[in-house]
């Protein structure tokens, strides 16, 4: 009997602009960029200098506080520019790509016959450790730790989220190898979440425990799965890996090459060409726009709930496998606050009539639909929080910086993305994800 996760409290947003399941090659990007801020709390110590010649897989930098985790180049070419911000903080490493990619050869390794130590050493020293996140704190995994279990979710329930089933279709062999690698990194189990309702071959992966996932978003988030299966206690470490990255890990073990291939779903009601584009990590955003002029639109590297705003001249984030394009909402709505008015805007609240049309797909924009206010309404956060956690109390504890309370209320079990729906639904327009991130950062400095 396979394990299953059933979520009742949540919200699957039905938005217009889903990406069609057609895979095309994106035009080649001239520059690929690694953004160290994508790796939360990592301070890069550069290994190479501007002008250095790189192969795909060559080391770029390592973390100032842990030299075990190495960060490598996704393409071969020349390190053209290191963009620095305030206090010389490294913001971007821009690599001008060669015409064809030249890979560094790491050699072939069978993860199941190699020893655990060898596998771990290889993962972290060749740049694959950058794909492994740790809970608590939602930061990069520490190579010194051995996690009690590892979680992978292949069921993307986020609004307009890319389908991992589609993305992984041609990479199933590498995906399985990647899972074999992960199974060597933990004393416990590797759990792979799959959509309970699909009959995909993802369900027949081996050496792992398959978990059937049911219900609305955030059912597909690893945080939900961890909470249901092996909730994190104080002092424990759990790792999570994104599904497509598992395949990258597997491929590197099978072929010896670091193939940073990324299939990016271009979606959103303002996107003109909504397809899946094959490109590489850190590609230029404009190569995915198919010539579209995105004026008046918000470009989001990631999904609408958790992604980051990028510019047309910017680059796709390290982990993003979506580029969502929605209109900016900088317009006024006269008397828009009247109840039961403007029902074309989705609302979870019954003060709008949008709940009468559950099948309807909604147009969205970036309007805040109100202004930030004091926390007044209670009970609404719980409706989109499937974890056994009191969201409002935890948010308030984070705002107050009360460490003991945060611990008691379950800060170790959550990541900002678990609170993304609260960002979306809450009446007072408070930024729950940001507050949780600050709370986690406080825990890192105070507790570690």
């Amino acid at each position: 009997m396979p394990k299953s996760v059933k979520v009742k409290r949540g919200l699957s947003l039905n938005l217009k602009g889903e990406a069609e399941k057609i895979l095309v090659d994106a035009p080649k990007s001239k520059i690929y960029t690694i953004k160290p801020p994508n790796f939360h709390s990592i301070v890069p110590k550069m290994v190479v200098k501007e002008g250095a010649k790189l192969k795909a897989g060559d080391e770029l930098f390592f973390s100032k506080y842990s030299d075990k985790t190495r960060f490598v180049s996704p393409v071969s070419g020349t390190l053209k520019e290191i963009v620095r911000g305030a206090k010389r903080r490294v913001l971007e490493l821009r690599i001008e790509a060669d015409a064809s990619i030249d890979y560094k050869d790491f050699g072939v390794m069978d993860p199941l016959s190699a020893s655990k130590e060898e596998v771990k050493e290889r993962v972290f020293s060749t740049g694959l450790g950058t794909f492994i996140q740790q809970r608590p704190y939602d930061i990069l995994a520490n190579a010194e730790d051995t996690p009690k279990s590892i979680f992978v979710s292949t069921h993307n329930t986020a609004p307009l989220g890319a389908s991992f089933e589609f993305v992984l279709k041609a990479k199933m062999k590498h995906f399985q190898t990647g899972l074999n690698v992960l199974s060597q990194l933990t004393e416990g189990k590797v759990y792979v979440g799959v959509d309970a309702e699909s009959a995909s071959e993802l369900k027949s992966v081996e050496n792992v425990e398959v978990v059937n996932i049911n219900g609305p978003h955030p059912a597909g988030l690893v945080g939900t799965m961890i909470h249901e299966i092996e909730p994190i206690n104080q002092g424990e470490r759990v790792w999570t890996v994104r599904a497509e990255d598992v395949a990258i890990i597997g491929e590197q073990f099978t072929t010896g090459k670091f193939n940073a291939e990324r299939i990016v779903a271009v979606a959103g009601n303002a996107a003109e060409e909504r397809k899946y584009f094959k490109t590489l990590i850190g590609a230029e955003v404009k190569t995915l726009l198919s010539g579209q002029n995105p004026a008046g639109c918000r470009l989001i590297s990631g999904d609408v709930l958790t992604g980051a705003k990028v510019e047309e001249e910017g680059y796709i984030d390290y982990y993003a496998n979506e580029l969502t394009i929605i209109p900016e909402g900088n317009h006024y709505r006269m008397f828009g606050w009247l109840p039961f008015k403007d029902n074309n805007i989705h609302s979870m609240s019954k003060t709008s009539l949008s709940w009468l049309f559950p099948k309807r797909k909604y147009d969205v924009d970036t309007n805040l639909n109100g202004e930030e206010r004091a926390l007044v309404v209670t009970g609404e956060m719980e409706e989109v929080m499937p974890l056994d956690i009191y969201p409002m109390q935890l948010i308030k504890a984070c705002m107050a910086g009360d460490i003991e309370k945060m611990e008691n209320l379950g800060i170790y079990e959550v990541a900002p993305e678990d609170f993304a729906l609260i960002d979306y639904t809450n009446t007072s327009k408070i930024e729950a994800q940001e507050i949780i991130r600050q709370g986690l950062d406080l825990m890192i400095t105070e507790v570690g």
Binding site: N233, S352, R373, G379, G410, A432
Partner: protein, 390 residues
């Protein structure tokens, strides 16, 4: 629309940051956001947001109050002319009531919003919409003949001491509207209880009794009303609390829109009914009750401010319990205590005000124990783990 928008943008110019009126931005913004949902876009966190905002939530409560308010205006006139022995039509009665009540509402909003604006400017935050509801509630729960300056003083007390002293909207412990009423009740008891305050200009007529039903029961005089009167509300009382029917119409809107938590409303009535049943059973237990304890339990639910209090005041999310389980306990206790105070303490013919204020104070404690349950579960899990590994 774009004309008004342009005009507004023009008016707002001197208030932009860097200009001399910058400090007063919250005031002009309050006006602007009343007309338009602003053009603000998401800057961090989720890029899309739900259509709901606090203004919409609060206006829904105001809408829910309208039936009771209109009925209250009519009933004020109706009770007045009935005392005089005059037969008048709906409009005449309504207009009489409106002349009494609209000035109270104007005073309440002017004074309360004035303070809110001053604090918003002082603290540099936007004006919160909570007072839209509080400002309407305060006149609705006062006796009709209360002087306007008392309304103003009560409002000042409620907003300053009840709310701003604790940090403003969202931080207050007590329901501000009830704080206002409690202030008036204890500061000016002769205007807030007795038999001359409940019907407008009652003192002008000789030998009349404008006593409320609960007052009559406490005094041991005969009650000349049937249950149907109590339910529809054609009885003397505070302005808008008499009609259980209109209150239930509001409750329906609040529960369907989920603006008020149905758990509090349902458990509040259950609590009141339970206490009523218990008191009704006293004679069969060999205890001789009085008129109040023997008053049928279902009548207890429809007289006095109980229904109004449970539907509109107990459900105030800021001062109520915040956890789901907590809300059940909180509502139940409010109902129980309201009937208990009402029947067992002759000094207070109505208990809902005190029972809600009391439970407001205890709501954080209730929540604490509910949340503590969750914390204990987590600690137990950790303990089980350490025992296993040790």
């Amino acid at each position: 629309m774009s004309f008004i928008r342009k005009k507004l943008d023009e008016i707002k110019k001197p208030f932009e940051p860097g200009n001399k009126l910058e400090k007063y931005r919250p005031a002009i913004n309050a006006l602007d956001t009343f007309l338009f949902v602003p053009n603000h876009t998401t800057q961090k966190g989720a890029h899309i947001r739900d259509a709901v905002d606090l203004k919409r939530t609060m206006i829904t409560v105001v809408l829910a109050l309208i039936p009771a308010l209109i009925f209250g205006m009519w009933n004020t006139g109706h009770q007045h002319f009935m005392q005089l022995g005059e037969e008048v039509g709906f409009m005449e009665a309504f207009i009489h009531g409106a002349w009494k009540i609209v000035p109270m509402i104007v005073v309440s909003y002017a004074v309360g919003l004035g303070i809110e604006f001053i604090y918003a400017i002082k603290r540099g935050h936007e004006v919160n919409e909570g007072y839209l509801v509080t400002g309407l509630l305060i006149p609705m729960i006062m006796p009709v003949d209360i002087p306007l300056w008392m309304v103003a003083l009560s409002v000042i007390f409620a907003v300053l001491i009840g709310k701003e002293a604790f940090g403003g909207t969202g931080m207050n412990i007590l329901n501000p509207a009830l704080t206002a009423r409690a202030f008036a009740f204890f500061a000016y008891p002769t205007y807030m209880s007795g038999n001359e305050v409940w019907v407008s200009e009652a003192g002008a007529v000789d030998k009349i009794s404008g006593e409320t039903i609960l007052g009559k029961l406490a005094a041991g005089t005969e009650v000349p009303f049937e249950s149907i009167h109590m339910f529809t509300g054609v009885i003397p009382g505070s302005i808008a609390e008499t009609s259980t029917l209109c209150i239930l119409a509001g409750a329906l809107l609040l529960m369907l829109t989920k603006v008020a938590d149905w758990r509090i409303i349902v458990s509040g009535f259950i609590g009141a009914a339970l206490m009523g049943l218990l008191l009704n059973a006293l004679p069969s237990l060999g205890v001789e009750g009085n008129d109040l304890t023997n008053f049928a339990w279902y009548n207890h639910l429809i007289v006095g401010g109980l229904a109004f209090g449970i539907v509109f005041m107990a459900t105030d999310p800021v001062s109520a319990a915040q956890t789901l389980k907590g809300k059940w306990i909180y509502g139940l206790l409010i109902g129980l205590l309201a009937i208990m105070i009402r029947t067992l303490n002759p000094a207070y013919p109505e208990g809902i005000m005190l029972s809600i204020l009391l439970m407001n104070v205890f709501a954080p404690t209730i929540d604490h124990y509910v949340v503590e349950g969750n914390v204990k579960k987590r600690k137990k899990r950790l303990q089980a783990k350490t025992v296993k590994t040790a």
